[in-house]
């Protein structure tokens, strides 16, 4: 599904990723853990196509094709989705209008017909009910005045609506209490299927109790320094990043 090969990237001339390799197969859930400044968020922004980051070496293949020259909207249409660590507030753009515009833009790019308002509302109802999202939230402007939990739930709602093949969850657990974390994790787990892969980026092992990964990778100083199964996350939680970083060096 996704192959990241020897990825080097920088922002404003500052190297952040220094030869990152990662391959995620269809239907797999991988987790990336790492200390602050390891390049976790950089990786997620580069996958989604944020302009400020420059890839200086290496490639990212999505279903066998390089996405490096693709605009963010083209990547979204191709089936890539980033759940933001800090979902952006957009005053004046109402949720329902945003979700419909987003879905129809993606459908159009995929050569599917745009949904009429009624059909869209039906789809939206079904998804919001599953995620326990109230209608009132849909009347507000995108993420404006949302609590931390509501913002993250909104990310999962967008994921559910766009039905991507590959989802990157950037510190989806940050700022969530246990109840909110469970709701978000249930939402993600409901989307797990044979054709859909996930990359879960997190600081803490806690989220991985709820979204159990097939593989765990430790990212430090711009590289994957160790990979393993779900047990690795638990070892990491016990021993701390320091041990693994030293071991790698």
């Amino acid at each position: 599904m996704i192959e990241i090969k020897n990825l080097h990237a920088e922002i404003e001339g500052q190297p952040i990723l220094k030869g990152l390799d990662l391959t995620i197969g269809k239907g797999e859930v991988h987790a990336i853990m790492g200390p602050n400044g390891a390049g976790k968020s950089t990786l997620s922004y580069i996958l989604a196509g944020k302009e400020e980051y420059e890839v200086t070496e290496g490639d990212i293949l999505f279903n066998g094709e390089s996405i490096l020259d693709m605009e963010p909207e083209e990547r979204a249409a191709a089936g890539l989705f980033l759940a933001f660590q800090y979902p952006v507030e957009i005053p004046g753009v109402q949720m329902t209008n945003f979700l419909k515009t987003s879905l129809n833009a993606v459908r159009k790019a995929r050569g599917e017909g745009e949904l009429e308002t009624l059909d869209f509302i039906k789809l939206l109802r079904a998804k919001t009910t599953e995620l326990g999202i109230k209608d009132e939230m849909l009347k507000r402007a995108v993420n404006v005045g949302f609590s931390g939990g509501e913002k993250k739930r909104n990310e999962v709602l967008q994921m559910a609506i766009l039905e991507p093949q590959f989802c990157v969850l950037d510190e989806t657990d940050s700022g969530l209490d246990i109840d909110a974390l469970k709701i978000v994790a249930d939402g993600v787990n409901a989307l797990r299927e044979a054709e859909r892969s996930f990359l879960v980026i997190t600081h803490y092992q806690r989220l991985l109790d709820y979204i159990v990964p097939d593989q765990v990778h430790i990212l430090a100083e711009g590289k994957i320094i160790k990979s393993g199964d779900a047990q690795l996350a638990k070892d990491l939680e016990e021993q701390g990043y320091e041990t693994f970083v030293k071991e790698a060096a």
Binding site: P72, V93, L162
Partner: protein, 342 residues
């Protein structure tokens, strides 16, 4: 004719009118189209210019203009159907005149005020709102010409003035507004947008006088400037000592879409009362990249995402019309139209 104001005058320092009106004009009185009830038109209203304009020496341009239309809405009359006034000035013409709108006690009116400006339109408008009167005043225009406009509003107790202006037209526009809140609980709300491109110049100059306690005034403007366009916003709230419990707000935010566009903002508060809530704010920036990236990451193409954000930005000017659904929707459509996202 009196001398034209020059940038030497403090309130004209951003706008060089003489440089824009150097041609010879064919001068006419301003003709005003009017579709309201004939019985509202009077020859001359008795109580014109109820407060002195002589405080500022920069208003000679509008002094002594011939009256071209006087409307009086009688006491207690609520005019259901919005009234339209329209004015055209052709290229090479200079049309001048004063328009007087007087709403007597508890009268209500919605006024659509539309100009088509190819030459130079120089107009003054007095708006007198007696106690409890309520006027909604929606202005817009088209044309490539020059507009110099003065609006003076005089409000009594409980009177409400709710105004909107869409400035997309004209090569040079000076929009000067003086409001006086002279009775308790008056509300004066001024909202509007400038959508400027090419070499357009638009200067909004507002002065609100709070002369009575418990009044509310609000200035809420958004501007979008492209190419070499230049926008100016000078807004002043003057709270007199007697005007306790005043609420006076100003907000003027601008987005520059080009390196050559310029926005000058000068918000001012002059407060002599000690129990007031006043604020002013102004920002000038480029379109924020983060919301743009967020929308693109959700599959919305860049151009469409930009249009969505700009529409949202300009639509912030509609807040004062949230309780007037029909006007809110109409203005929303106007915004879509001027931004070409309809």
């Amino acid at each position: 004719m009196s001398a034209l104001p020059t940038p030497k005058l403090e309130r004209w320092k951003y706008s060089n009118l003489p440089a824009h009106v150097d041609e010879t004009y064919d001068v006419h009185p301003l003709a005003v189209g009017y579709d309201g009830d004939d019985e509202f038109i009077v020859d001359r209203d008795v109580d014109l210019l109820p407060w002195a304009a002589s405080t500022y020496q920069d208003m000679d341009l509008w002094m002594g203009l011939q009256d071209v239309l006087s409307i009086v809405i009688p006491e207690g009359k609520s005019v259901e159907k919005p009234v339209n006034i329209t004015m055209d000035v052709e290229e090479g013409q200079k049309c001048e005149g004063a328009i007087h709108i007087h709403l007597q006690k508890n009268a209500r009116l919605t006024l659509h005020d539309t100009v088509n400006c190819q030459g130079w339109m120089n107009r003054a408008m007095t708006i007198t709102l007696d106690d409890g009167a309520e006027l909604i005043h929606i202005r817009s225009g088209e044309g490539q010409g020059i507009l110099t406009s003065l609006i003076q509003i005089h409000q009594g107790k409980d009177a409400k003035y709710n105004a909107y202006v869409m400035n997309k037209f004209g090569s040079f526009v000076r929009d000067q507004i003086h409001g006086a809140l002279t009775g308790e609980n008056g509300v004066c709300s001024l909202s509007g947008a400038k959508i400027l491109s090419a070499n357009q110049h638009c200067d909004t100059c507002i002065l609100i006088e709070h002369e009575a306690p418990n009044c509310y005034s609000n200035q809420n403007y958004r501007n979008l400037l492209n190419d070499n366009a230049r926008g100016v916003f000078q807004g002043k709230v003057h709270v007199h000592q007697i005007a306790q419990q005043t609420d006076g707000y100003q907000l003027c935010n601008s987005i520059l879409l080009s390196d050559k566009a310029e926005m000058d903002t000068k918000p001012e508060l002059e407060i002599y009362a000690d129990d007031v809530k006043c604020s002013h704010g102004a920002t000038t920036a480029q379109l924020d990249e983060d919301p743009l990236f967020y929308l693109q990451a959700r599959g919305i193409p860049k151009e469409q995402a930009q249009a969505l954000l700009l529409e949202a930005f300009i639509s912030e000017t509609l807040e004062a019309f949230e309780d007037h659904e029909e006007i809110y929707d109409q203005l929303g459509q106007t915004i879509k139209k001027v931004l070409d996202v309809a």
